[in-house]
């Protein structure tokens, strides 16, 4: 099966910032993204868990975006501008995709 190289950007960010991040991704021209729920975690700002929470202040989501390698730098710039002052994590890894025409 024919595959094509792509980049997988995974951004873990506070739930309140989700729409700002995805707006930025769209402006950076990504073809799509997927949002995964996050149950809990730990970092410099302490431990947290979603269990029993009613507000949106203390939760995170993970936004995964697959993109062509040449788009990476502009997407990272835009995403970083949103994440910068916020709790969050941005990782990039290599992957192969099938159906490259979709990206």
């Amino acid at each position: 099966m024919q595959t094509h190289s792509a980049k997988r950007v995974e951004i873990t960010i506070e739930a309140v910032m989700q729409s700002r991040l995805t707006d930025a991704l769209k402006q950076a021209g990504v073809s799509g993204y997927t949002v995964l729920p996050v149950l809990g975690g730990s970092g410099r700002s302490g431990d947290w868990t979603r269990a029993g929470e009613i507000g949106r202040a203390s939760g995170m989501v993970q936004v995964v975006c697959i993109l062509r390698p040449e788009r990476l730098s502009v997407v990272l710039e835009r995403a970083f501008a949103v994440v910068e002052k916020h709790i969050g994590l941005v990782t990039v890894s290599d992957c192969d995709v099938i159906r490259a025409e979709r990206f």
Binding site: M17, R20, E53, G55, A57, S58
Partner: protein
């Protein structure tokens, strides 16, 4: 004085408070008891809908008057003013940065709807009447505190508040889910009145207190977890603020309530609103606008210290003060 203790004692033995205590104890003991997030949110949707609806029905029954408008205005002013008081106290009492102090101050200007509900149910049991529109006042007090806090930050330099206040944030604050639901249900209750209530009262009236128990069980779990995780974080002085601020806030509420000429229960509720601190709308807004502020600090203070204080000792105290002041 004896009256306060009697009321406090009776209050402490209600299933509602004991459910909170159970959750708190379970979390502090590190039990794995937990309410699923979706269930907790569903409970809060139920409570907001029921509270708003019943408030609207009360207004439909008793009509609108000038006091309603003035009370809304008073709520708005209190919510905008109290953060300044809280900020001043925090800067004087504690070594917190301006940012952290402003974030906490925003919480204390806003309100806790569950504290409001718990107080209403104490008034109901005690047969003390109150204005039905107090729910609308509660809604009016949700957001102004946020603006005050941002103004404080922009004034105390560091970074400009205007930049932090983009259009999206405005919308998020004003159309925050809990405000929309509370106000929307209020409007529905108002529009449909007693007839509407009759249709759905076996859903929003009869089981209400029981649902509140489960909700407070969850609040206890969340508060206990917060306390456990940020035990090291909270200095004594910050903790003291969590008890002092409601006592200061309630005085503002008392003054406003007397000026407005509210009923005994109305005064008590305005005191409760002034004394309580937000843990839904404000924390989310603060994460967007003041991301550098430590969220654990404000949440633990408002949910882990002030909320239980109000629930157990505060409410009976405020009710007693309101009775003394109004002679009710």
């Amino acid at each position: 004085m004896t009256e306060i203790f009697a009321l406090a004692g009776q209050n402490l033995l209600s299933p509602i408070i004991l459910s909170f205590a159970l959750g708190l104890a379970a979390a502090l003991a590190r039990s794995d008891l937990s309410v699923p997030e979706a269930a907790a949110k569903a409970l809060s949707i139920y409570l907001l809908f029921a509270i708003g609806f019943k408030g609207g029905v009360a207004v439909a029954a008793h009509g609108v008057d000038l006091t309603l408008a003035l009370s809304l205005l008073a709520g708005f002013v209190l919510s905008a003013l109290l953060p300044l008081v809280a900020f001043g106290l925090l800067r004087a009492m504690t070594g917190l940065s301006a940012l952290d102090a402003a974030a906490i101050a925003a919480h204390y200007g806003s309100i806790s709807i569950v504290t409001f509900v718990a107080a209403s149910s104490v008034l109901d049991s005690g047969g003390i009447g109150y204005e039905g529109y107090m729910v609308a006042v509660a809604a009016a007090m949700e957001a102004p505190a946020i603006l005050s806090a941002l103004w404080l930050i922009s004034r105390s330099g560091g970074s400009d508040g205007a930049r932090r206040m983009d259009r999206d944030l405005w919308r998020e604050i004003l159309l925050n889910g809990s405000i929309v639901l509370l106000v929307g249900a209020f409007a529905i209750g108002w529009a449909t009145g007693e007839d509407g209530l009759a249709e759905i009262s076996s859903f929003i009236v009869s089981p209400f207190k029981g649902v509140l128990c489960l909700f407070l069980l969850d609040m206890g779990l969340v508060a206990g977890r917060g306390l456990r995780q940020s035990a090291g974080l909270l200095q004594m002085r910050v903790l003291a603020f969590g008890i002092l601020m409601p006592l200061v806030g309630c005085v503002f509420g008392l003054a406003a309530g007397m000026l407005l000429g509210l009923s005994t229960g109305g005064v008590a509720l305005l005191m409760v609103l002034s004394a309580s601190a937000s843990y839904i709308a404000v924390p989310a807004a603060m994460r967007v606008a003041l991301p550098e502020a430590n969220p654990a600090l404000s949440l633990t203070l408002s949910l882990g210290v002030t909320f239980p204080f109000n629930l157990t000792l505060g409410i009976p105290l405020y009710v007693a003060m309101a009775r003394a002041a109004t002679g009710g």
